[in-house]
Structure formats: C-alpha cells, structure tokens
Subunit: 419 residues, 2 copies
C-alpha cells in the first residue's frame, strides 16, 4: 500500500507551526508496514486542497489528512474532499450530541459554526475524537482509502493511534508487520561507515540495511517484514552479525540512545563516578551528561574553567604553566592532563576528564581553531591525553569536542581502547 | 512570486526526522514577502524527485530544495534536477579544494564519493556552505528559479540566511524592499505578549505587526515595504513606539540576539564579570553563555555541583545545610544564596549566580518537579534569591530555568528590576 500524507493549514506554509503531525503519522505507518511516498502541505484554500487530493489520488492508494476539521471558515478539508468525490456532507448525530453536551456542561453558548465539527462525508466511518470535538472520517472510494484526522496534535495522536489504526488494520490484508533495529556508532564518520557497508546497503533487500541520518549521530537501521518477532529476530540477528564483523568496534548501542547515555550506563554498571573540567566547551560536556535522568549517581559535577585565572583558582594549576614565554599554555597536553587529574581529586571520583582547546572564531595562544586536547584521568592509573582536530564553526567544534571525549570515555569503559 | 519547498529524504517519510527545515525556510520566505503555496516531502528516489520537480514547476516560480546534497548514493537532488533540466553536472573547483583541504587537515582519507558534494549543475550560481562541505546551487531556467540547500539544519540555516537570501533578493525585481525589525522580549509569555498587542496585530497592516514563532523565544516582527531605509525606519519607529508603550519593560533587544548575548553585552559595557554555580541545569547556563564568542572577557567560568558532596567540596557549603532532618536541603533559598555567594568569591567576579531545583522526572527532597531557586550575588550588595515554578519535561525545565536566570541578570544589569 502506498500512502501520502496531506497536512492542511496556512500556518504551516507561513512557518509558524512545525509539521510534527506528518512525522508522527509517518512513524505510525512505518510501524504498520505502510510505505509513505509523499508528504504534502497545503494552505486553507478549497481549490488547492482539491488539487492536492487529485494529485495524491494519482500516486497513492491511502491518503491521510491532518488539519482543517475544526469549526472555523478556514476549516475546509471535509468540504474539499466531499466536493472532489461528488458526495454530500451530513451531521453525525452522536458527535453533535457530544458537542452540545460539552457546551452545556461548560455553560457556554454554542456558536452555530461548531456544528461543522460533527460533519461526516456520505459513506464515511466516524473516527472518535477522545480529546476534542471534531469527528474524524474514514472511507474507501474506488479502491482509494481516505482518513481525515484533526490538526491539533493532542487530538490527532489519540485518534490516529486508536480508531484510525484500527480502521487501517481492517483494510490491510497483510499479516506481516515491519520489525526494525537501530545500531548506533561512534568514532566513525557517516561516510566511512557507509563505505564499509556499501555492498550490504546496496544489495541486501531483506532485511534492508540503511544509513539512518540524524543530526550529529551515525546509525544504521536494519528492517524486515515478518509474521512474528521470532522470525524477524532471526533475520535481524544475521544481518547484525554481518555488520559487526566489519564495524563492530564502533558499535556503542543496539537501540536509539545517545552516546552520553551509553557512557552513563557503563559507569552505573561498573559503579564508577565521573567529574569534568571544561574550558572551550564551557559546560557543554556536563550539560550533555546531565540530560540523562538519574545521572547524578555517576556524574558528580565539575568545573567550567573558562579563563586562566579560574584554572588557577579552581584547579590550582600554576600560572607559570598557563602563561608566559615558554609556558605550555592553557591549550596543551600537559594542561589537559593536569585539569583531568585535579578535578578527579577535587571530586574524589573514579574518572576525571578535561577539554581544552580553541573553539574560535580566532586562534588562541598561536594555536589554530579546532585544536583540542582531552585529558582522561583514572584512579590509580596513568593519565591519558588525546588530541583532536575539528572543523566547522564555533558551536560545531564545541559539540564535536564533547562527543569525541564521550567516545574516548566509552572506549576506556568498554575495553575497546585498542581499536 | 509563488514558492514551493521540496524536502528530500526518506528519513522524513519514515517519521525519523521532523521537517523543521520547511518551517525555517517558510518563515524566511514570509519575511522576504514571498508566498509559499505548497511544501512537499519526497524520498531519496530520483524518479520521484523528478516527478515532484515537474509538479512544482507547474504551480510555482520559485522552488527551494533541502536535502540530498551529501556524498552518499542516496543524495540525488542535484542529479534529479540536472536530468529534469537536461543539463550536465560538473565539479566546482573552489568547493572541491575546500573538501580536500578539510580531509587533509584532519589526516583522514577522503572517500571518492565526497567529490559529489562539490557538484554544480551547469549554469548554477554556487552558494557557499560555511558549516559543511556540500555546496549549494541556485539557477533560473525559463523563468523558474531553483535553489538547492543541504539537509542538515546546521548547514542549511546559514546557507539560506546568507547566500541564498542574497540571491533571492537579486531575482526579486521589486523596487520596494521589505524592511523589518525584530523586537525580542523576555520575562513575558508568548500568549501574554500577544494579548497585550492583539488589536495592533489584527488591525495594523503597514507596518505589519506579527508574533514571531521561534522555539523558546518571544519576539515581535514589524515589517514594511519601502523604497528606502529612511522611509522604512520612520514607519517602523512609529510602530515600535506603540509597542513600547505597552510592553517596553520586557524588551531586551531590537535585533535577533539571544538573551545570553544581551547579558554579555551589558556586562562588557559596564566592565563587570560573572561566575555561575549550577545544580539542576548541570552546565547548561555556562554552556549558553559561552556560546557567545569572546565571552571569556565577562564570564570567568564556574562550577557544576550536581551532587551534595560537590556542593560541599567545591563551594564549602556545610553538609548540615544540605542533608539531615530539618536541614534546608540542596533545593532551598538559602542554598541558592550560598552557592551564588561562594562561586562569586571563588572567582572574585562582580556577579555570582546559582541555580538549584528539581528538573525531574521525579521529585527530590520532597520538593516538586519544576521548583527552582536562583541566587544572584553582587559584589558589595545584598544577595537576592528568586523562585521559579516551571512546567514541561526535564529538558524544558532546565532550559526555562537557565533562561529565567538570564532574565533576572538582565534586569539587574539594565536597572529594570522593578518592572
């Protein structure tokens, strides 16, 4: 089955509202194993909505609408579809009773236009709106299925997940469901990962193996349609093994979690704690780690020593290390090592990590933008220092630095350091 | 001019990514006075991209693409448009030099497919990508304008706002230009601001006065079309005065800068310095402030005391203040005051600020999720403590807390405290 989603609303075309409904519906359809080929956004204009329907009708056999079911003059989706299909529209009595009861219970006078929310296109199945007043519509005409959902996400979501999905299952004569697994990688770039797997990505069709694009993250999704989870897992396991043989050393999770969450879980499992000393990232590393609920068990905190004076005051790093002719400077291997060691001692934690470098826009201490040193101090072990060279603007260098340190930490915790 | 936006990417059709790019571009086009009639999402399939182009060509005279400019086999936008137009594609030398230089500087082997990112369709103007490698394309063929932008928002936004908008202004042959001014507010909610200005928003047409929707920020845009800046400014000034009479006390900037930047500028102007002590925000406050280039002149740094032990170790707050029967606890007015005072002393800065509260998901010390105390210590003055009650999920509570503290700091610095 080929689906198309039509979101109706001028506010979307003005950029005042983000089209999260299309995302939500697409996700739900993917889970049902229904392929979405197009998403369209059209304004509150009956002619253009009809044009969008005509077009979708030519390239899809399931058309889902969201928006335009409300009471105002701008709510035109039902009228446009009815006129396109040459059908009449009439009031759905149970929905009208519900609307009248709601106004009565709130002691508010009902404006006549609210009756429009109870409208059903001739031959439609009503879809109950548990969070609002506008009734949904679902019908099949000449082999094309139409589902009309409201626009407000708090009304759309329960209607889609409940009555609309039930209606869709009814029209689908397939027993097979889509199963998929997400593999998340760190320490390898998107294009290098794809290069390593290119033959699998191009030739494997069941399970399909595809790169998964998401800001700043590198992932692979493997998917298969199967009658049962057992059947699906057997196939997914085999595909995962093929992938692991090639790039297993970079795999940090088999589910959709961020690298910082993988690190916190490893710390938790080994009952160890972490503290951080940041310079160029200015708190970004700590902020990422503390986004994880409950991270205070593993991450005790740290310092943001954004100036040399603060490195001296908070971490007791000698000013002679930081400034003056022949001094290593704030951006140096030895300062990174000292920062990591001192913050570990201050916090009495198992690990102390540090970041110092040049985020830009201009160089610092004669060192180039993008040069970053990471310190990794561990209780009872020799402190390590890593060097990074990052490109991009100031914010990207900061984010890449924090992620790169998380990867080094993950390697140390998972014993994959040699790779 | 009628515009259509085509977002290319199978991840959008699978519901894995929200199409925020279409929203961002729509907003920008609205500001230029260009109407968007349709937004379309199509997968990484050359035939279907061509179909979307053919269709958009029939109903728009400006087509903006986002996505599909990257190095992988799935990046097909340039190929699809070139093939639709019957034009060739060739390498843009400056872009290729940039790509090679980047790989060289990082000491990473360049996979051959990266060359694709330097491709230009015959006759195109290149659009510089300051945050990535894929060059943008812009061209006009038979009266239809095409603009190709990358998919990752961090690359798309600067390319759209910079070279793409400049290119669009060049093709718009109107003598009257759109002039607009953005007024940014803090300390007032979006709906309260709108309520205070509702009659102006609804009745004023020149200049138009409109709320400007942007995640987590409250702003008003006033716009007018004029033959000169002088003419425009006279009208914009008059509208701004009307707005200021009602909500001037919440106005923190007359340009698109974040609240943290307004705070840094005020500190710079008065030659004062700031340090922070964070608990629930875990480094988020420091991270926001240090995003501003050159902020190390005003923000010295601070501490992330995520646990009680760290509040004791780094800030010398007595454990008896933090724990035990009858103790005020970590989430309390007195702890917020102590944190702010101690970090100010540690840093020897003019201001010390603190955040302590409950970000959730569950309550802490018997205190409810969303309760936050802010400390504001100033050299030679009485320390102040503010209380906040925030709703939303964990991350929203953290962000709102940090923004709320910035607002208090801005008030203190601008002398608008009474309001």
């Amino acid at each position: 089955m080929r689906a198309e989603i039509i979101a109706v609303g001028t506010e979307l075309l003005l950029g005042q509202t983000v089209n999260t409904n299309a995302t939500y519906i697409s996700q739900g359809l993917a889970e049902l194993g229904i392929d979405v080929y197009f998403q369209t956004v059209v304004g509150d204009n009956e002619g253009r909505i009809r044009e969008a329907i005509r077009l979708a009708r030519s390239r899809a056999d399931l058309i889902l609408f969201t928006g335009g079911l409300g009471p105002t003059m701008d709510d035109l989706t039902k009228d446009a579809l009815a006129s396109y299909l040459g059908r009449s529209v009439s009031e759905h009595e149970p929905s009208m009773n519900k609307i009248e009861a709601m106004f009565k219970s709130r002691g508010v006078h009902m404006v006549e236009s609210n009756r429009r929310q109870a409208n059903l296109i001739e031959g439609c199945d009503p879809l109950d709106n548990e969070a609002g007043l506008a009734v949904g519509n679902a019908l099949t005409v000449d082999g094309t299925h139409y589902v009309l959902l409201p626009g407000p996400p708090r009304e759309m979501k329960p209607m889609f997940d409940g009555p609309a999905k039930a209606w869709l299952r009814g029209i689908m004569n397939e027993d097979r469901r889509l199963y998929s697994r997400l593999l998340k990688f760190a320490g390898i770039g998107e294009s290098n990962l794809e290069q390593a797997l290119i033959d699998l990505i191009e030739t494997q069709t069941d399970p399909s193996i595809a790169p998964y694009a998401k800001e700043g993250e590198v992932a692979i999704r493997i998917s298969t349609k199967a009658l049962s989870e057992l059947e699906a897992n057997a196939r997914l396991d085999a595909a995962e093994e093929q992938i692991n043989e090639r790039v297993g050393q970079y795999l940090y999770a088999r589910e959709d979690i961020a690298l910082e969450e993988a690190v916190i879980r490893q710390l938790r499992a080994s009952r160890r704690t972490l503290a951080s000393a940041e310079s160029l990232t200015g708190g970004l590393f700590a902020q990422l780690v503390t986004r994880i609920p409950g991270s205070s068990g593993e991450f005790t905190g740290g310092v943001v020593t954004y100036t040399n004076v603060m490195k001296h005051r908070l971490l007791s790093i000698p000013m002679s290390q930081l400034e003056g002719t022949g001094a290593p400077g704030a951006v140096s291997e030895s300062t990174a090592a000292l920062m990591a060691e001192r913050v570990r001692e201050l916090a009495d934690s198992d690990f102390g990590v540090s970041l110092t470098g040049v985020a830009g826009p201009s160089e610092s201490e004669g060192k180039p933008v993008g040069l970053v040193y990471f310190g990794l101090a561990e209780r009872g072990k020799q402190t390590k220092v890593f060097t990074g060279h990052f490109s991009g603007n100031r914010e990207m260098i900061r984010v890449r630095s924090a992620k790169s340190l998380l990867y080094r930490l993950w390697q140390a915790l998972s014993g994959k350091e040699g790779s």
